[in-house]
Symmetry: C2
Subunit: 367 residues, 2 copies
DNA sequence: TTGTATGCGTTATCAC
DNA sequence: GTGATAACGCATACAA
């Protein structure tokens, strides 16, 4: 096979001429929408092969409308955490299935360096992809409008995120509140009563999860303390996740009354939190029980193996792609579907029952 | 502003009609390539605004050639390590500058689940972006051919990677061999003579770095041992980086003669390696000195703070974008340029001088 | 079954 | 300055 494309790319007209057929015949041979003799078809495909012909995607879309093999992916950020992995995994699965699936990032939804979400989505919509797969976390309303336009124009939309919302397409939801309930119940079953939570993100998006946390405490008969809620605030919003764990540790150590258990919704933050407390002489699980989130390999391999809640990235990605394919193949009900995916608690050494009299028990243990 | 795009999108003809001018006048008003009264121009822009007009990108590219604000990004993988961060950072910078910069991933270059690199690049090339920014790590030759075609057709290419290669455009190189030299010299200056290296990747791409390692050992008068080179092999290629560190630790512990120092080219692998040795009673830096790579925040915050070689992601990304902009604005020499970027060693507690008589010194230390 | 004509939305080249 | 007209490459309806 020669790479002859140094000259101008061949057009379908060139192919038709080479194959000795009319232009429309050649077109029909590629789309398959036209009945013709196997003989002619073979000749045309052969000619296309030799000329190294590839259809011009812009001409195709100008003439025929939507492109079939192009799906745009939109994520919030690509540089951090499991959301990035989901987007990347979805891209991978789609690429393997022969789709072109470029990935676009919104940038952060809060604070400086913000990207024009609406503009980005409009640009994408104008490209007329077959579908848009979109991370719905902190999607602005104007973006939802754009997506609705896109669907109205015949596009297809699949979303994934942490809470379902009024959305013009199917959604795959990882139920992050379930993890919070599980963690709280676990701590409670171990006898803990002073339970904290740490979100290594901007407070902006933690409302629903925080409410779940409060409700769960109440239903366990425990009290909620605002100072036992940790966020990436006070200038730490831009820090790397691990740094946020360090900040949390500093705040924790300044507390007059310390919790005996904490759920930190990111393993790396939890690990640096744990290491930082260790330096201050506060040990897990003796002095504090810690549960992380995402169940990264390092959690299991850490100095003190970290209990963690799993984050089924693969499952989410596969659900998204499956729903998408069902829609593309027209075998899906009209109304938008919602699939909920859940993780589970993996217990390791960073959590332990609360010791009633801490001092004595520790001594006894140390003997 | 109303979102009227529920109906079919306005075309330039609609704008011209609304503004009471000819179609081509309207076109000229947008491109600015036509002289006209400010009055007319304002009217046209106004009309476009009201009709919520956006040019159809496909029609533009069909007619006018290359799109100006579209730059395609191509990376190897997006799900792991610092290469992903570079791609993401470049995307960010370009998006902030008003470019549409979708990110495509090749998938892995070796092993199963391989993506058709050539096909992907061809698809991208056919989209006629203004430029292609490409991770050159383990680029297949056919892809280089595609890129050359792209340049021949008037496109622009910028590459970034770990070694410069015969490439049809500017390149930004992070000199990974420099880090290896630095690490070896550091160990040597501490008195270490049995020095190992660990690459948490497939052996496929480590050739040049391994040679640098050997050369550096020789120039320090030290011996090279093949069994002191660790790779992600034996089925571990697909494992997460941290898991590879665990595998390396297992192999290390089985060694008849153990090295006293090791450079592992990824912090997470180095951390899990260190934790795993700890469980086996082998402590850093007492029994082994460890240097990681990338200088991730967790390295600094780990149980034993890890010495690490920095990885200037930001610098690479900025160099790439700067070179690109210089080219786009035509203020760059014709011949392809190469910029080399280097990191530096950050020393922490995981490295220490070799103790001449380990047993006695340790006892003395413990007193 | 095969060839022909028209339109998609834009840019660019001309005459006016 | 402004306004028709021809590409650009493909799909499709329609005529042969």
């Amino acid at each position: 096979m020669q790479i002859s494309s140094l000259s101008k790319s061949a057009t379908i007209e060139d192919v038709a001429r080479a194959a000795g057929v009319a232009l429309s015949t050649a077109s029909g041979a590629f789309s398959g929408k036209k009945r013709m003799s196997e003989q002619t078809r073979a000749t045309i495909l052969q000619a296309a092969q030799e000329l190294n012909y590839t259809p011009n995607p812009h001409a195709q879309r100008l003439a025929g409308g939507r492109s079939l093999k192009h799906i745009d992916l939109v994520a919030l950020r690509l540089d951090v955490g499991m959301d990035a992995r989901k987007a990347q995994r979805i891209q991978r699965l789609l690429t393997e299935r022969g789709y072109s699936a470029p990935l676009h990032a919104y940038g952060r939804s809060v604070g400086e360096g913000q990207v024009d979400q609406r503009g980005l989505m409009e640009t994408i919509r104008r490209q007329q992809p077959r579908a848009i797969v979109c991370d719905t976390t902190s999607l602005q309303d104007e973006v939802l409008e754009e997506l609705k336009c896109f669907v109205a124009e015949g596009g297809m939309v699949i979303g994934y995120g942490y809470h379902d919302l009024d959305f013009p397409g199917d959604q795959v939801i990882f139920d992050s509140r379930h993890g919070i309930s599980q963690a709280v119940r676990h701590f409670h079953s171990l006898g803990h009563e002073r339970i904290a939570i740490g979100f290594p993100t901007h407070p902006h998006n933690t409302g629903p999860r925080l409410r779940t946390f409060q409700n769960e405490l109440v239903s366990c008969g425990l009290r909620f303390q605002a100072q036992w809620v940790f966020h990436a605030d006070g200038g730490a919003e831009d820090a790397e996740t691990e740094e946020i764990g360090v900040h949390m540790a500093a705040r924790f150590l300044r507390l007059a009354e310390r919790p005996s258990a904490i759920f930190i919704t990111n393993d790396y933050a939890a690990l640096s939190f744990m290491a930082e407390l260790h330096r201050a002489g506060v040990e897990a699980p003796r002095d504090i029980s810690i549960v992380g989130h995402d169940d990264r390999p390092l959690a299991q391999r850490a100095w003190v193996p970290l209990s963690s809640f799993t984050h089924p990235v693969e499952e989410v990605a596969q659900c998204v792609v499956q729903m998408l394919e069902e829609r593309l193949e027209g075998r899906a009900a009209d109304e938008a579907r919602v699939i909920v995916v859940r993780g589970e608690l993996r217990l390791r050494q960073s959590t332990a029952p609360l010791l009633v009299d801490k001092g004595r028990s520790v001594k006894a243990k140390g003997k």
